[in-house]
């Protein structure tokens, strides 16, 4: 029985454009923290090794500091760590694994899988990797990597790969798609006992064998990833396979939709945002629909402004939003505007009902008028 930790898609050095500088720093730090935690977890779980199924780095051209920080975290553990080059960090001429910062600082427990040669991790556990040597392979690397001979008796063979399974890949012409039937055939023939895959960021078990799995990214990277934030402890031998997920991720990407027309709708939005847990590690994308008065729109801006300060990031999904601002009489009634101020407001309201882009400018101007006129003495 072999016991190891299956993970992948760390994508260290990832930058998200919607994050502010401070939030980006937190996001970056938490990715290293997740790796640190999974290493400690593997140690606690008495895993024989940690296999990282590709995309350890966001790109081959990551910052030197990112490489050094990653290796520093791995150095803290005594467990063997096998790093598989994936499509983000292929083992090409410019590979990060061939860079001076990596080669000069890689600790002894870390090994890059540079070929399909079987790697003996410990007696009874053999790892066969299918590293990416370019960003555009033209064949099923995993299928090609599986040896034609079964491992010696008593030895568990774990195949480590990266890429989309043909059953999950939306691109049928993808020559590099991994054949799930091929994997299952190999598993059935005893040529391998478990196929640890990376590339898919959501925890996914493929096929019916229970021996082909994506561990998913240990920390979320985008919306709609399904179930990110996990690592897998795998116990496997010829007789059986047991995959145990463990959560390490702290960030989440969230989409919410709201219809906004009445004051109550704004109140509901405010309450929902206030109720979100771990706001500082939540990245929220809002779709807003409806029609608001200037006053209501000002209120919406207040709510969103507060949320922006609290959340990791807040985006209003313009493409999926349809929010109209319509100044009405009530916006200005309580201000008791008179004379030229009243005339100015009326003129701006006319502009706001006209064609863009003047209409947007006029609505902004009216909002400003509202804010300044309502400002307490």
């Amino acid at each position: 029985m072999a016991r190891f930790l299956h993970t992948g898609d760390w994508q260290l050095g990832m930058t998200r454009h919607f994050l502010s500088g401070e939030a980006q720093a937190r996001f970056t730090d938490d990715r290293f923290a997740a790796v640190r935690e999974l290493m400690e977890f593997a140690q606690r779980e008495r895993c024989a090794c940690v296999v990282v199924c590709g995309d350890v780095f966001e790109t081959n051209q990551v910052a030197r500091a990112t490489v050094l920080r990653a290796l520093d975290v791995l150095r803290a553990s005594t467990l063997p760590v096998l790093l598989l080059p994936g499509n983000h960090d292929p083992l090409d001429a410019g590979s990060v694994y061939r860079s001076r910062p990596f080669l000069e600082n890689v600790p002894a427990n870390v090994r890059v899988v540079i070929s399909t040669e079987p790697i003996r991790v410990e007696p009874g556990l053999e790892v066969v990797g299918a590293p990416w040597s370019s960003k555009r392979p033209l064949l099923d690397l995993v299928g090609a990597a599986i040896p034609r001979e079964a491992p010696p008796p008593g030895t568990v063979r774990v195949v480590v790969g990266h890429g989309a399974l043909d059953t999950l890949s939306p691109d049928r012409d993808n020559l590099a798609a991994i054949s799930l039937p091929g994997l299952e055939a190999a598993l059935g023939a005893g040529l391998a006992h478990y196929v640890a895959l990376g590339d898919r960021h959501s925890l996914t078990a493929a096929g019916d064998t229970g021996r082909v799995c994506y561990a998913g990214a240990p920390e979320a990277t985008d919306y709609d990833e399904g179930d990110p934030g996990n690592v897998l402890v795998v116990e496997v031998d010829g007789a059986g396979c047991r995959v145990m997920p463990h959560r390490v991720g702290r960030w989440r990407f969230l989409r919410l939709e709201f219809d906004l027309t009445r004051d109550d709708d704004l109140a509901l939005l405010s309450e929902r945002l206030e109720a979100l847990p771990t706001k500082e590690r939540t990245i929220l994308k809002l779709s807003l629909r409806g029609a608001l008065t200037l006053r209501q729109h000002a209120r919406l801006e207040e709510v969103l402004s507060r949320a922006r300060e609290l959340l990791g990031a807040l985006e209003v999904w313009e493409r999926q939003s349809d929010l109209v601002v319509r100044p009405d009489d009530g916006d200005f009634a309580e201000l008791h505007l008179s004379g030229f101020a009243q005339a100015a407001a009326a003129r701006l309201r006319t502009l706001a009902a006209g064609p863009e882009p003047e209409a947007t400018q006029a609505r902004d101007a009216l909002g400003l008028l509202l804010r300044l006129a309502r400002r307490p003495a």
Binding site: G13, M14, T15, R16, H17, F18, L19, S20, Q24, E58, T59, N60, Q61, V62, A63, R64, A65, T66, D92, A93, G94, V96, R98, S99, R100, P101, S134, L335, H336, L337, S338, G339, F340, A341, Q342, A343, A344, R347, L348, L351, T360, Q361, A362, D364, A365, L366, G367, L368, L369, L372, A373, R375, A377
Partner: protein, 880 residues
């Protein structure tokens, strides 16, 4: 607001004073100075504005005299829906109380009362307008042109649309303006901060583009590295194959080398045979040449000998002709010398005759000169002696004329004695012997005394006194004339005239001498003339004796010239004849010399050729004695046979090499070597390229370009969002500010018309129906027009300014009356108005009072006598 009642207690010098104001119309508060009129206004301000605890100067000034009490003020007024009684006591036991009687009863004290009044006033009264429509004593309405126009503008602008703000707060426009200034300058330019945001985006874009380009380059290098790795492998394999092929070709070439050595041996034998054959041919050629040269020399000797015999008779004939010519030349030269001698003699004769003529002419010129000089010398001598001049002659003439005149006078005045001789008689008249012929009569004037003596008779005649004076004058004139004659060296006037003529002649001679000398000397000097004469004289004297007697000397110059020309012609003809003969002699001599020289040369060359011919013959004989001609011919044939055999050997060796295909094999081997070298270069090039690319990749990889690009991309996205937001804010603030300003300006323009109409309607009473005013956008009064005469406000009189100030206030009060109204309070106004204007202003105030509350304070009751229907309140010293 309507002020209904105001009561002062213990206020400065006033013990108690209560004034009730008419809620509608005009209230005139009259009173002498220090009756407390101005204190009413001061107290009203303190009541509204200050807490009862106030210790300001104005409050302390209100402390009552000689009473230990606090000054107290109480006002009753209506504002909006409120009717209030408001009282304050300051300084001593300060106290505030408020009783609101309507709309519902309220009662407040202390600070609460103060705050409540402030709230009610803020709610119901435009406080700034309340202040603006009041003019205190001494503030002067004439200052209205600046200050009051500003308050009017402020008050009316607020009435036109200002928003209610607390004291010290900015108006809405100010707030919008401040917001505007967060993005724009006053001049409408975008602020530096916003501009920096605008500039920042393209800067980051450029940075991102640069990073993207670098990353693209890096990724290209990755692909290039893979391609180069394939190239290196391919070139390495090709190099191995090419090296093996080159080895095979090298082995084949060794077989070819044996055949090539055999061919080289044949070629060496062939070269030796060619050398021997050449030498035999050269010996044969040398023998032929020597034989030919000996024969040629012999033929040449024979040809020259024959030619010498043929030339001898012609040479002898040339010698004879030459001698004959020499004889002719000698005879001609003798004749020529004789002719030359005759020509020289004729030339001497000609010169002699010419000198003879010249000598004569020169001597004549010299004689004329000498004659002129002698004349001149005599003339000069005369001039030196002569004392008569034009002046002295003139003086003599004048003296003579004076003498004659004197004589005439004397004669006229004297006694004249007429002597008539009857027979010739001799007598003495005054001692002068005188002879009279028969019948001769002589008149003798007697001026003094006269004596006529004959031997027989002496007659003394004495003249009277008058003729004596005349006689003395005559004597004096005569003396003067005589003295002048003596001075001129003449006896009388005729002599003097003759002497003067002589003098002129002498002067003419002197002048003529220069002319004669100049003309006769001509181009010569005197010395040159004499020198020429001295030179010619011996020649002329000696030539006839010096020349030979024959031929005879030509008789004159013309003959001499004819003879000289003939002699020269004869000499010239003989000279030409001599020259012609000499030329012919030279030609003949030259021809003879050339023939003689040629003959000598032929003889010399004949001797030389005979030597050469004998030498060549001797050497040929010696050579033949050593190797006979036949032996040379045999040797040549032998060497030719050997050479032909060697040539055949070389051809056979070349055929053998060609048959072995040596050239093709060698070309293949050479090409194989070159191909190895080419492949080696290509491999090394690929390896160098690979090393370079890997070096770039290593350097580029350390830059972390991918992560940098993502980070800067995020920064760009952020900057764009910030910029869009900031630009939207800026645009909104500009649009709002511009719109507010546009509407404010428009409202001012709209406001001008009713304001101007209100002023003109009120002012018509004072300035007549033609009264018009011009008002600026800020509501400042610009000018007044009456009867088509427009005067700028600043140019108006103090009285007119003051009247317009009052009218403007009343117009403003009328305009805001519907909003609750504001009292117009004038303290001691219209001090500059004349009686007629006071009457008209009275009517105007009465009219204005129908709509607004007007309160007039004055110490001059007559000033407002014409305000009809006014409520009059009198304050006096006894009022206190």
């Amino acid at each position: 607001m309507k002020l209904l009642r105001l009561k002062l207690t213990s206020w400065a010098g006033v013990a108690t004073s209560e004034v009730r104001f008419a809620p509608e119309g005009v209230t005139i508060v009259e009173g002498p100075n220090e009756s407390g009129k101005t204190s009413l206004l001061t107290a009203l301000d303190l009541l509204f504005d200050e807490y009862d605890s106030c210790k300001k100067e104005e409050v302390r000034a209100a402390r009552p005299v000689h009473r230990d009490e606090g000054p107290e003020v109480e006002a009753e007024f209506r504002t909006g829906p409120y009717l209030l009684v408001y009282r304050k006591r300051f300084l001593k036991r300060p106290e505030t109380s408020l009783t609101v009687r309507a709309p519902r009863p309220e009662s407040h004290t202390g600070r609460e009362a103060h705050e409540r009044v402030q709230a009610i006033l803020a709610e119901t009264l435009d406080l700034s307008l309340w202040k603006a429509l009041r003019v205190g004593q001494g503030e002067g309405l004439s200052s209205l042109q600046v200050g009051d126009a500003t308050w009017l503008s402020t008050a009316l602008e607020r009435a036109a649309g200002g928003i209610p703000v607390g004291e010290g707060e900015r108006t809405l426009l100010d707030a919008v303006h401040n917001e505007y200034l967060r993005s724009w300058t006053e001049g409408g330019k975008v602020l530096r901060g916003v501009q920096e945001l605008v500039e920042r985006v393209p800067a980051i874009e450029a940075e991102v583009a640069r990073l993207r380009e670098d990353l693209g380059g890096l990724e290209s290098d990755v692909e290039r590295a893979a391609a180069l790795a394939r190239d290196v492998a391919r070139e390495s394999a090709a190099l191995v194959d090419l090296r093996q092929l080159a080895g095979e070709h090298a082995h084949a070439l060794k077989e070819i080398e044996g055949l090539r050595l055999a061919k080289a041996s044949c070629e060496r034998a062939h070269a030796d045979a060619r050398g021997a054959l050449g030498r035999a041919q050269a010996a044969q050629e040398e023998r032929r040449r020597m034989t030919q040269e000996a024969a040629d020399a012999q033929a040449e000797v024979a040809r020259l000998a024959e030619r010498g015999v043929a030339d001898a008779p012609a040479l002898a004939a040339q010698a004879r002709a030459l001698e004959e010519l020499r004889t002719q030349v000698a005879a001609a030269e003798t004749a020529s010398r004789q002719a030359e001698e005759r020509a020289r003699l004729a030339e001497g004769d000609l010169k002699f005759r010419r000198a003879e003529i010249d000598l004569r002419k020169f001597r004549e010129r010299l004689e004329r000169i000498q004659s002129a000089e002698a004349n001149a010398q005599a003339a000069a001598s005369f001039l030196a002696r002569s004392k008569v001049s034009e002046a002295s002659l003139r003086a003599l003439r004048e003296a003579r004329e004076a003498l004659i005149a004197s004589q005439a006078k004397a004669e006229a005045a004297s006694t004249t004695v007429h002597l008539t001789a009857r027979a010739p008689v001799q007598l003495q008249i005054d001692g002068v012997p005188t002879e009279l012929a028969r019948d001769e009569t002589r008149a003798v004037p007697v001026s003094g005394r006269a004596r006529f003596e004959t031997p027989e008779l002496v007659v003394d005649i004495r003249a009277g006194e008058s003729p004596v004076g005349l006689a003395q004058d005559l004597a004096k004139k005569r003396e003067e004339f005589t003295a002048l004659c003596a001075g001129a060296g003449v006896a009388d006037l005729d002599e003097a005239a003759a002497a003067l003529e002589q003098r002129k002649e002498a002067q003419a001679l002197l002048k003529a001498r220069d002319t004669v000398v100049r003309e006769n000397l001509d181009d010569l000097t005197r010395e040159r003339l004499e020198h020429k004469i001295a030179g010619l004289a011996p020649v002329v004297a000696s030539w006839p004796g010096d020349r030979p007697p024959l031929p005879t000397l030509a008789p004159d110059y013309e003959a001499a010239r004819t003879q000289e020309a003939a002699a020269k012609v004869a000499a010239e003809g003989l000279r030409a004849q001599v020259a012609d003969l000499r030329e012919r002699l030279d030609i003949a001599r030259s021809a003879h010399d050339q023939a003689a020289t040629k003959r000598s040369a032929v003889e010399g060359r004949l001797a030389l050729l005979r030597d050469q011919e004998s030498g060549r013959r001797r050497r040929l004989d010696e050579a033949r004695a050593i190797v006979p001609d036949s032996q040379l011919l045999n040797q040549l044939a032998t060497e030719q046979a050997v050479f032909d055999q060697a040539t055949a050997g070389v051809a056979a060796a070349e055929r053998a090499l060609a048959a072995a295909g040596a050239d093709a094999r060698e070309a293949l081997a050479e090409n194989a070597r070159a191909a190895v070298a080419t492949a080696d270069v290509r491999l090394r090039t690929a390896q160098q390229d690979q090393a370079a690319v890997l070096g770039r990749l290593e350097a580029g990889g350390e830059r972390g370009l991918g992560e940098s690009l993502a980070q800067r991309g995020a920064a760009l996205d952020h900057a764009r969002r910030v910029l869009a937001s900031r630009e939207a804010q800026a645009a909104a603030s500009k649009l709002l500010y511009d719109t507010l300003c546009t509407e404010r300006d428009a409202s001012r323009v709209r406001y001008l018309a009713p304001y101007r109409q209100q002023i003109e309607r009120l002012g018509e009473v004072v300035f007549g129906p033609s009264f018009r005013v011009e008002i600026a956008e800020d509501l400042t009064l610009l000018s007044r027009t009456v009867e088509d005469r427009t005067v700028p406000f600043a140019g108006l009189s103090g009285g007119a300014k003051e009247q317009l100030g009052v009218i403007a206030r009343l117009a403003c009060a009328a305009l805001v009356e519907e909003q609750g109204g504001v009292p117009v309070i004038l303290d001691d106004a219209l001090g500059f108005s004349d009686p007629r204007r006071l009457e008209e202003m009275g009517a105007l105030l009465a009219q204005a009072g129908k709509r607004s509350q007007v309160i007039l304070l004055t110490c001059m009751p007559d000033r407002y006598r014409h305000v009809g229907g006014a409520t009059v309140v009198r304050l006096g010293p006894g009022h206190a």
